[in-house]
Subunit: 437 residues, 4 copies
């Protein structure tokens, strides 16, 4: 049976007027030595695509899906699996990402919840075998249920910490079972609402303890996926502990966990922290911490996580630029942590939205590759920093000089004339590449 | 001779209607075992108080000071010293902070600039001896001059790096000469305008090199003051490398510099990073990194550094709360990195503004002390986190359990009921303390 | 029967340590010629207090109320009425505000929904008669249901416009029935998500049509309450048409509706528009458009509507200052459009939160009254603008001069010296009043 | 003599690698029935191009221009005229915009300042005659000088009001003399720093008086240019009275000035008010108030007016879309109120920056024209709002129904099913047009 009255999406090229076709994403086309499929490693987010029904803080559901048309929770969960794999097949999406609660409804007890997960995991494995679609990463939802009202690993309630640990244990097990190549930690409620009632020192120590246990358990069960932490500055809590990439790196280094984790950077989380998407990727890259990417976009005029499908080609170009400079994805990929707008409530909007996101990233990939192949910015930078290749600059970066030598140099030589940073010219060249590649 | 037709400012108590009197700051009053003077360690910022003439991006000077009434630059610099010490004496401010360029005008060459500094340092030392006023910290201005257009320690021009090093060397020497108990690094232009032309990896490595040289040089000359880094997220550059406390800690830990530096937290820089002032102080405190404080406030509706005098008693209370929890200042203090509004251009506004700032912090100190003495929040927190004192919580924080034990616990016990965080009640208690102390 | 195991809340004065007592709100105390009760005209918001269960975009309910402990929707609605009036009685809250859907659950058809409303309205009237509690205002919820996905009065679907009109008609009728003294329009989804699909011209014309119909209908049924529009800049839509007070005034004046509506100003909506609460009240006051107030506060570091209970005494002081300057409330009041934090999920938190809000406004009222009685700011302003009382200033404000006369004046006289705006001094005086009143 | 060692800039097409050539701006190419030159009506801003030397709040000049190489202020002013016209000629810019103080330095008295203006106006007229370059608009700078510290038309000092009026009088006269087709009012300091010392009612009344005098004087001297008001929400003052387009329209309608003024919309001012550039243009268009445009861009992550050259093709496309929908410019144009980055301090950066801005707008124009010619969004909207073309929708927009009729309709018919808003699809179509036109 089929849930979508939409044909399989195919590449038709940039001039196509068919809304249900790719204009830029041509999966087998080679870009910088790999197929676009392998460069992008697109993943579907199970939650936004199959459990988001349109609620927002001011209104209820707007999306009433045919596969949800049953009162039985487990039956619904199974039909969602079928719908999800039909969707991914038609969309040519090679990966999916999931929270435990996305695939199986939470039951009254942990034991029953885990049993439900086992049932659904079996169904998913069948669909994976049938389609060849793979799991990019799994995670647990330790923030939605009311027991997590004060956090999970940072809860003031030790029994909630224990419960969260148990959830993560199970989520890691099923991620392994599904062949997931990463496991993600997003601290949904790991943060505070007010410092008046919060012991941040204890809470952060506990968060580190939880992560250390995860490292140990991954080793114990032989899970070889990459562990990832996903920064976000705020929402739902007033202050999320994993504010941005730098904050997470400070935390990992403090607790000596930096060798066990990489980062999962989300575009909209970057902008909520007042960083560009590229900035966060760049910070990860120069620190060797770039793991994977949540591909979406926010509205820079709005202060909450809108999780829109990425349609800004500047952002996707500069993101792919950093990813390619980092050598491209190994375990990571581009997961669309994006949801259709509340007003895009028809089933076929799911296709149109993923096409928009995939095409925008595909275009970004091609532009980024061209910029790198032509060394447009790299040559400019090489010349701009050339003074560190010789003379006093060479001495500086080889740690041969201290304040006294540098003062002697400055007293003798003053400074060499600066040259323009050429920002406007570089921005226009970027425009030209975006439009002409 | 006297520049200010204002009498020495004295404490007259909360009911006084005299604008030129302290209502809350009573220097010798004991609060939590120390005089208010020793708890607050107030400092005057030389730059905002004696070199800010009212310019903003849309207009010129509005402040025409009698002590500037000479064309000779060095004469003017000397008169400023006299005016500054008269001001501090009358205001009962025990410390000052300065950049090199605040006290002596930059000359055509480094050599001459250094000679000018030596002349003024001598005058300052005389005034210090006369008045007993001390130096809280010194720093260099390596951002204003056009040679620093692309940064100082992170400049793409190696000769500018050398020049900045030479400036810091001299500034450390004169800070030592003046008995300064701290030396501050604020990376005025250490950041980027666009990633299109920036090698962030090299620039951050170089910034670390510069700081390492500073550590070495301090040791060499026997400077025993605390080295401090001051975070700021943006302005003047689009992205400042020292974005916030967490970012600086990530940087220090990466380059193994964490034992040599502490942080100088500025209220308005915190808010520009979308953090509360208390948050940044709290993060420093729990990491043992709280050095000193730049006392001002921003306007939460505005996106630039307004450097207003602090007049919000919530902010000063919660700041002093963290500082007292940290054991109070040792080397650090409260430096008013605050400038009178452009429309407060009269000389006596300097007094009114400092009174406002000092009184607001004094009130904050007294409220914070009362809250701590009554253990209002501390008792609430102790009870809130009590589950970590025994049972599974005790095992967690003593690293006796892993995922398997915690899962077993959760399967067996589920979770204990959460209790309310009581945010509204705590905020009202804070109000009561603020108004009734 | 009783739902709250909390005694009636009484005034115990500023030194009381009893969390369940008023410290500042003393209902019968006279402030500026009226009782505090009459100055404040506090109202309970039915929705946040009795229908908000703790959901947020990342998690489910945390508040499980005893009065909701039934599966029958209408029975639950009736129990909520009883709980609500018990709560208001114990809290000494003299007014309530409501949306239609708060009091009675939406049914399958408009007809049945209206019948349900009639049932509940009867119950409410009984409770009103029993307690003396009154209705400050009513409104309709034309934004939550999925039919309003593209707006109500600004929907692209004309049948949705008709449905919204029908809802408003009924809501106006029941507001009249309940003796409501105002009727509020908050355009929950009157805005746009993207201009790519939106005809803003038609949508705004239609919004004006809807309001004109409301004016006509109010007249027809003899509803003598004040009609109010409540501005909000964004959320849930990307851009709400009623962005702020100025935008609403531009709209009303364009469509010649300015004589029929006043504004309902919400503190948190002001801050989302980057205005202070006082600013929005001030703009209403000087335009004669101040109707009523939604009393809450946002977090200036967060970009969404947090609807917190107001606990910032600066904000309540300056708000009451504008309200008193406007002559005090006539029909309007202070409606707590505030919800307990998600972590304050206990029933008694409702009391603690309302106490915090009422006490903070009561303190603000007293401080504002003292400032006005002492003419602290009014005298300062009178002197500051004195140049318009005579000479060329008098001529200007009496429209006796034009450019030529003013040029002649300027050529002849130049400008008189400006004097300081004294911002810091005034802020400190405000502090003193807040703490010492 | 020549100040720029750069050849005249010519169109070389999208594939050109020559930085000193237009890639998209082909002045004589016909787009929607007019030449690109006539559609864009580009203007140079005299101030940012010839008086901005690189200062920012944290540093001094970085731009040292050959034409400024004289100590004589008037000589310098004359050389700037020559440099400016050489620049515009080489850039093929047909218009310029200016403040009085941009072209001639303020002298000690108003009389002398006016005489200086007359001298320079004569030089400019010669250059205009020689080159055919025209004046788009003039204005006065009534915000930079210290006399305007508390505002100009809204100053608390009546003699400052008079002085501002005199300045505007002269600026209108020279704008007329130079054949300017518009006169702009940007209220640089018309706003407030704190409400504690501000009588907003009087200040806004006075602002209206000033504008009324300007209308009268324009009539008196036969100035037939369009009068324009330029909104900005904040900076330099905390709150600027002309916050955004809606605020200005509310003001004009209140004081019955709406027939005499249109708006000059600046992109970066829009974003500072949390609006998109397109939003502000759209609001002007549907109110018949679109006058002219200040073409620049801000950084959405920064909270101040960065005045960057516009290089975002999304923004320029959607801006040109509104302008074309409005019928194209009549008197208005695209004035680059944009400054080169502080690090782009070389003379040739002026060319590169203007090329970037002009090319980005030219591309935007072509994309917008293609979207309009293909009726991409217009057809979508026509169908989306089709329900207002017949039946109950027709009755609504023809004012034939009220609440009773609409309730009857809703009771009888309920609502017609909504259809998707298709935001993602539309955003992707926009992408395709941007890249494939």
């Amino acid at each position: 049976m089929s849930y979508f009255d939409v044909p399989a999406i195919k590449y038709e090229g940039p001039k196509s007027k068919n809304p249900f076709a790719f204009k830029y994403y041509n999966p087998e086309e080679i870009v910088m030595g790999k197929t676009m499929k392998d460069q992008c490693r697109f993943a579907m987010s199970y939650w936004h695509t199959f459990t988001y029904m349109g609620k927002d803080p001011f209104g209820g559901d707007t999306m009433f899906r045919p596969w949800d048309n049953t009162a039985d929770e487990m039956e619904k969960a199974i039909e969602r699996v079928h719908a999800a794999f039909e969707f991914m097949e038609k969309m040519q999406i090679p990966f999916f990402c999931f929270h435990d609660v996305d695939i199986a409804p939470r039951a009254a007890t942990l034991k029953e919840t885990n049993e439900r997960l086992d049932v659904i995991v079996k169904v998913i494995k069948e669909e994976m075998a049938r389609t060849g679609i793979k799991c990019l990463w799994g995670t647990t939802n330790a923030f939605g249920d009311d027991k997590f009202v004060h956090g999970a690993g940072t809860s003031c309630n030790a029994t909630v910490f224990a419960y969260a640990a148990a959830q993560i244990k199970k989520a890691m097990e099923i991620t392994k079972e599904l062949g997931g190549v990463n496991y993600v930690f997003w601290g949904g409620r790991e943060g505070y609402e007010t410092l008046l009632n919060t012991d941040t020192g204890l809470e952060l120590d506990n968060l580190a303890r939880l992560l250390r246990m995860a490292v140990d358990y991954a080793k114990e069960i032989g899970f070889e996926g990459q562990l990832l932490i996903e920064p976000k500055p705020k929402e739902p809590t007033k202050h999320q502990y994993d504010f941005d990439a730098a904050t997470v790196m400070a935390f990992l280094r403090k607790y000596d966990l930096q060798d066990y984790f990489k980062l999962n950077i989300e575009a909209n989380h970057a902008t909520l922290a007042q960083h560009t998407f590229q900035h966060e990727l760049n910070m990860c890259r120069i620190n060797g911490m770039l793991g994977s990417v949540d591909a979406n976009q926010g509205d820079p005029m709005l202060g909450w996580d809108t999780d829109q499908f990425p349609t800004n080609v500047y952002d996707t170009t500069l993101a792919m630029y950093e990813i390619l400079l980092d050598g491209g994805f190994t375990k990571g990929g581009l997961n669309f942590d994006s949801k259709v707008r509340r007003g895009s409530f028809q089933e076929d909007d799911l296709f149109l939205a993923y096409i928009a996101g995939m095409d925008t990233f595909a275009r970004g990939l091609k532009v980024a590759a061209a910029l790198l192949e032509d060394k447009v910015f790299e040559n400019f930078k090489a010349e701009r920093y050339a003074s560190y290749k010789e003379g006093i600059g060479y001495d500086i970066i080889h740690d041969r000089v201290g304040f006294k030598e540098l003062e002697a140099y400055a007293l003798e030589n003053g400074v060499t004339k600066n040259t323009s940073g050429r920002q406007e010219m570089l921005e226009m060249i970027l425009n030209q590449y975006i439009m002409e590649v």
